[in-house]
Amino acid sequence: MIFLTRKAEFSSSHFYRNPEWSEEENVRRFGKCANPHGHGHNYTLEVTVGGEVDPVTGFVVDLKLLKEILEREVVSVYDHRHLNFEVPEFAHAIPTTENIAVAIWRRLEGKIPNSRLERVRVYEMPDLFADFYGESA
């Protein structure tokens, strides 16, 4: 078993708002992140898959294919978009780094051949990131 990681980048805007709370409560809980016009980040996505090396090609997954899957499933949907308004999974879920990692996992699960999705890591900034391993409680 070997782990293979591919990175991709997208730039998006978002804000944090729980519609069940008052404006004051949203500002109190989310601070500047509640600004209703949103703000942006350069996100970095790292997708890790695990699998066995094909004895003929020496690959776990063809990296070109993995790049195309990430582009089609994630980057083309998220890049240069306002996540709250333009990405369906965030119509009702706050686009926090945690929720973005979970949403990307759901977009990718079952789409990458010959391997198992092991980890989705989303960096909002170099010093803030979330990892999702497909676990639930």
């Binding site: 782990f3 944090y16 729980n18 069940e20 809980r29 989310f30 601070g31 695990g50 879920a93 706050i94 686009p95 926090t96 780094t97 945690e98 929720n99 990692a101 979970v102 092991e118 980890r119 170099p126 010093d127 803030l128 990131f129 979330a130 990892d131 999702f132 391993y133 497909g134 676990e135 639930s136 409680a137």
Partner: protein, 148 residues
């Protein structure tokens, strides 16, 4: 079913240290630690990476209140060690050598309880001594998938 996410933050501080064992001779210390044994110490820009895990709160979309996590780590670790000489800190005043391995282990112990007060599990502590040199402590539990 609520997704469980690991949330990580990186914190920076600068400190000096000297690797030295009181019970060893000067020659033995130098043979063991080389220039890290220089009597006046030397410094690093440390990076501490802290990962905590928990279910994503449906109301906030978060696993932990980041402001509260930052306050705890800043108060417990960054403010205590930033711009200090580690050997002078009570942590390393005894026989414990302030290697980055030992430092990471002690920091993990200090943060365990704090993480619990925030309602999350501390799953990884990484201490980078330089950008070429880092140590990870992983807390694994039965049923965990790959945690790295």
């Amino acid at each position: 079913m609520t997704p469980v996410v690991h949330f990580s933050r990186r914190y920076r501080f600068s400190a000096s240290h000297r690797l030295h064992v009181g019970a060893m001779s000067e020659a033995e210390n130098y043979a063991t630690f080389g220039k890290c044994n220089n009597p006046f110490g030397h410094g690093h820009n440390y990076v501490l990476e802290v990962a905590v895990a928990g279910p994503v709160d449906a109301a906030t979309g978060m696993v932990v209140d980041m402001v509260a996590l930052d306050s705890l780590v800043n108060a417990q670790i960054v403010e205590r060690f930033d711009q200090t000489h580690l050997n002078v800190d009570p942590l390393f005043a005894g026989d414990l050598v302030p290697s980055t391995e030992n430092f990471a282990i002690e920091v993990e112990k200090m943060l365990q309880e704090s993480a619990a007060t925030l309602g999350v599990r501390l799953v990884r502590v990484r201490m980078e001594e330089t950008s070429n040199n880092s140590f990870d402590l992983l807390a694994r539990e039965p049923g965990d998938r790959v945690v790295f």
